[in-house]
């Protein structure tokens, strides 16, 4: 019975204090289809998902599943109503077995007793559906790859007999080839008349998997329709509420002479014997699959990961491999893990901005807090961070603004070689464009940027040269004009 709505959301409103996160959102999911939920960060997608999964309660409006009203008070209600949620960050107990994870939340068969044997067929069937037929139910989840764990999450939804599955950026931590696998599983689930809501920042991905789309902006529906009827530009302009002429703004810059040299740099297990020469005023992209050693490479260059051989030199002078020395030599680093490593979430914006170069504000060891605040606020203005006050905790900012603070820090540090690991991860289209613009401007002032990304279109658009990594080695470095997406993938997979 394809086409029959199984989940209906009507005029849902939700406010947090004075901010209205949702102002009357409608949504309709039909059996056997994938609905893409699209919107910038802060558009209300996550809030809506949280209401659907029972983590938050709506202030007004109603939800209907089948023909019954749906008012989840928590995860167990969700499960009973046949709704399953798959989060961006995996939600599995890593020390437990596959089977125990799949049955987690299961009421057991009477008296709370868990008879694993009786549940086995159900477990096996679910595993087979997600293409993990060969995986032993007693294997430990933590020992499986990220991709397998993602599939286990989906299997868990199947064991719970979910009819509606909510997927929140399920591909953000998946390597390319596993994305294809995930999509084929999603197609199988469609056949089984399961309705899905799919959230992703990647339009091309959405286009591949979704049947229909709904766009949210500022907590309201701004558009919906069939996927094949809308082109990218239409959807993007719906998302940002204005015409976006150029998703990848570039600033003209001319790379200068080589000055940073990475020679035979090796760490355990990755990277392996890396040689790069970086030029002044250049944006150097590093492409490759997740797990190819890209992160390890730039962490080792920065001195965060231990190097077992090789050297990094600036202007012909080798730099000792400690973070302090590398920072002194002009290196700056942006972590892909913004939440845990990139920023100290509880500390103020000022503290985060200035932490790597506090020495500038001291006279005889005493900090001049006023001067520090002034400098920080100037910088915040320059990178256009939206915040209430500069002494606000970083955790209160949105993802995109947090990323701007992280970038502002290495600007404050006056770094000349900016090592950026996925700097546009989890930020919205508008902010991404601002970041590209900023990178171009920085390169134009003679700074060297190393840009690691899994998102090929952005690399191809903003970089001067791109190197592709595979199994810890830098396979091929070419000028960007000599690369195509297919070429990059071919080198990355081989």
């Amino acid at each position: 019975m394809r086409g029959q709505p199984i989940l209906e959301v009507n005029r849902i409103c939700k406010a947090f204090g004075p901010t209205k996160a949702l102002r009357g959102v409608d949504l309709k999911v039909r059996a056997g289809e994938v609905l893409a939920l699209i919107g910038e960060n802060g558009a209300g997608k996550s809030t809506l998902l949280k209401i659907l999964s029972g983590a938050h309660r709506a202030d007004s409006g109603q939800m209907i599943i089948g023909d019954r009203p749906y008012r989840p008070a928590g995860p167990s209600d969700t499960r009973q109503s046949g709704v399953a949620m798959i989060y961006q960050e995996l939600n599995l107990a890593p020390e437990l077995s596959v089977e125990d994870n799949l049955l987690l939340g299961d009421r057991g068969s009477g008296c709370g007793l868990l008879i694993r044997k009786r549940q086995r067929p159900k477990v096996r069937e679910a595993l087979e559906t997600v293409g993990l037929g060969g995986l032993s139910p007693t294997a430990i989840v933590g020992e499986q790859s990220i991709a397998t764990q993602q599939m286990i999450e989906i299997a868990r939804a199947l064991v719970a007999e979910a009819r509606i599955i909510l997927l929140d950026e399920p591909t953000s931590s998946l390597p390319q080839k596993d994305v294809a696998r995930l999509f084929s599983i999603i197609n199988d689930l469609k056949e089984r008349q399961i309705g899905m809501v799919y959230i992703s920042h990647f339009l091309e991905e959405v286009r591949e998997v979704a049947d229909r789309y709904t766009v949210l902006r500022d907590g309201e529906n701004v558009g919906e329709g069939k996927m094949e009827d809308a082109d990218d530009d239409t959807i993007v302009s719906l998302m940002v509420g204005r015409d976006v002429k150029n998703l990848f703004p570039t600033v003209p810059h001319i790379p200068g002479e080589p000055w940073v040299r990475v020679q035979e740099l090796t760490g355990f297990p990755y990277p392996k014997k890396i040689n790069i020469e970086l030029r002044r005023g250049e944006i150097f992209g590093i492409a490759g699959l997740v797990g190819a050693g890209r992160t390890e490479l730039i962490r080792t260059v920065f001195g965060l990961d231990h190097s077992s051989a090789g050297s990094v030199s600036v202007n012909g002078k080798p730099i000792p491999s400690t973070i302090r020395e590398r920072i002194k030599a002009g290196f700056g680093f942006i972590s892909e893990d913004r939440k845990n490593e990139g920023l100290a979430q509880d500390l103020s914006i000022i503290d985060n901005l200035t932490l790597s170069r506090l020495g500038d504000y001291t006279t005889m060891g005493v900090l001049n807090l006023k001067r520090r605040k002034q400098a920080a606020e100037e910088l915040l203005k320059r990178v256009q961070v939206k915040c209430k006050a500069s002494d606000q905790a970083v955790s209160e900012l949105s993802g995109g603004n947090q990323q701007k603070v992280a970038i502002a820090r290495i600007l404050h540090q006056q770094a000349d070689i900016l090592l950026m690991d996925e700097p546009t991860k989890g930020i919205d289209v508008g902010t991404k464009a601002e970041v590209y613009q900023m990178l171009g401007e920085l390169a134009a002032t003679g700074k060297t940027i190393v840009f690691v990304s899994s998102y090929l279109p952005e690399l191809l658009a903003v970089c001067d040269r791109i190197g592709v990594m595979s199994r810890g080695e830098l396979r091929d470095i070419r000028d960007t004009v000599d690369w195509t997406e297919e070429e990059v993938m071919r080198v990355a997979i081989v």
Partner: protein, 359 residues
């Protein structure tokens, strides 16, 4: 003015522990007037309370830094009495008696040795924590009994008493709380403030400046909030951690000195359980055991709250057993309130009287 808004402002301000202390003092003062001698807020009892609070507060200053850096020091109690015992043995076996030439040298030696002992205890803790990466809880759980054992070796498993004559005058007056005003330093506007309290205030002020106005201080907060971020920003994490514990060791040693001045003997096993009082003071003052948060003013208030309750219960002749239960309860309530403060959940404010609705 809007009653609810004022309540909210008080509740969310950094002054929470001060209000809590004022409330507790008021409560006991009233109860004391009604059912007991009415001596609770007398100058003498006030001095006694301040002095006992100082004994907790000085080591708690170091503990505050440790807790801000997301650490913990369970060995503070036994390290404190170890330092006190070292001081006691120095006076007991001193070659020269007080007043004789050369005694000053004995005193200098004794105090330096005490401070050095504290430093060393802290250095051992900090060194083990940053080199082995074992969690501070476990490391200091181990050193807690080690320091106890070392203290017992030094004291030959008994209490060390030094001849009264051999204790320098300034030290025996250090924790004096009686009414003879000649035994106080007496400068400033408040007469008869115990010297222990003066020292505490000076040290507290120094630590406030250290935490707020130095790179070291900001690094301590950064490490406590996110160690990996601090590392990424080029902060020398192992050095900072070792420095924090060593500095805390100095405060523990000063605490040991005051402990000796207070009881005039050194007994290593006295320290068992003191660390919990010290940690409680920090937590009552708003320190978060997950790091990144804590205040010196809060810690001072925390120490005062503990002593105010203890003294109040004593005045009212409440049994010691009940005092323990009351203090335990207050610690838990304080932490719950603190969590509410930081979460500032709307539902909590809805519980407050809302007669004058916000507009």
């Amino acid at each position: 003015m809007n009653f609810r808004r004022i309540l909210k402002a008080i509740f969310q301000s950094q002054l929470g522990p001060i209000f809590a202390l004022a409330f507790i003092l008021m409560l006991f003062a009233v109860a004391d007037q009604r059912w007991s001698s009415g001596n609770y807020l007398s100058p003498r009892n006030f001095r006694v309370m301040m002095n006992s609070a100082a004994l907790i507060a000085v080591p708690a200053l170091g503990m505050t830094m440790i807790i801000i850096a997301a650490g913990i020091d369970l060995s503070a109690g036994t390290a404190l009495t170890l330092c006190g015992t070292v001081l006691a043995t120095q006076f007991k076996y001193a070659a020269v008696a007080a007043g004789e030439p050369g005694f000053a040298w004995v005193v200098i030696q004794a105090v330096c040795l005490t401070l050095l002992t504290g430093c060393l205890c802290g250095l051992v803790n900090g060194g083990l924590i940053s080199l082995t990466k074992v969690v501070p809880f476990i490391v200091t759980l181990g050193t807690m009994t080690i320091f106890l054992g070392v203290g017992q070796i030094i004291s030959k498993e008994s209490t060390v008493y030094a001849d009264e004559k051999n204790i320098p005058e300034w030290l025996s007056d250090f924790c004096y709380t009686g009414s003879n005003s000649e035994r106080y330093l007496n400068f400033g506007i408040f007469p008869n403030v115990p010297n222990s309290v003066l020292l505490t205030l000076i040290l507290a002020f120094a630590v406030v400046l250290l935490l707020r106005y130095t790179v070291f201080g900001r690094n301590v907060f950064a490490i406590g909030s996110s160690e990996s971020t601090a590392r990424l920003c080029g902060v020398n994490v192992p050095f900072t951690i070792i420095a924090v514990y060593t500095l805390a060791g100095v405060f523990v040693a000063l605490g040991g000195l005051m402990y000796y001045a207070n009881v005039k003997n050194g007994n290593p096993s006295d320290g068992m359980g003191k660390e919990l009082e010290i940690i409680a003071a920090v937590v009552l003052g708003g320190g978060s055991l997950s790091g990144g948060r804590g205040s010196i003013l809060g810690t001072l208030m925390g120490a005062l709250i503990i002593t105010a309750i203890r003294s109040g219960c004593a005045q009212l002749s409440i049994l010691n057993t009940y005092t323990h239960i009351i203090i335990g309860g207050i610690i838990i309530v304080a932490v719950i309130v603190d969590q509410l403060r930081h979460g500032s959940p709307e539902w909590f404010f809805r519980l407050l009287p809302a007669k004058t609705a916000e507009n």
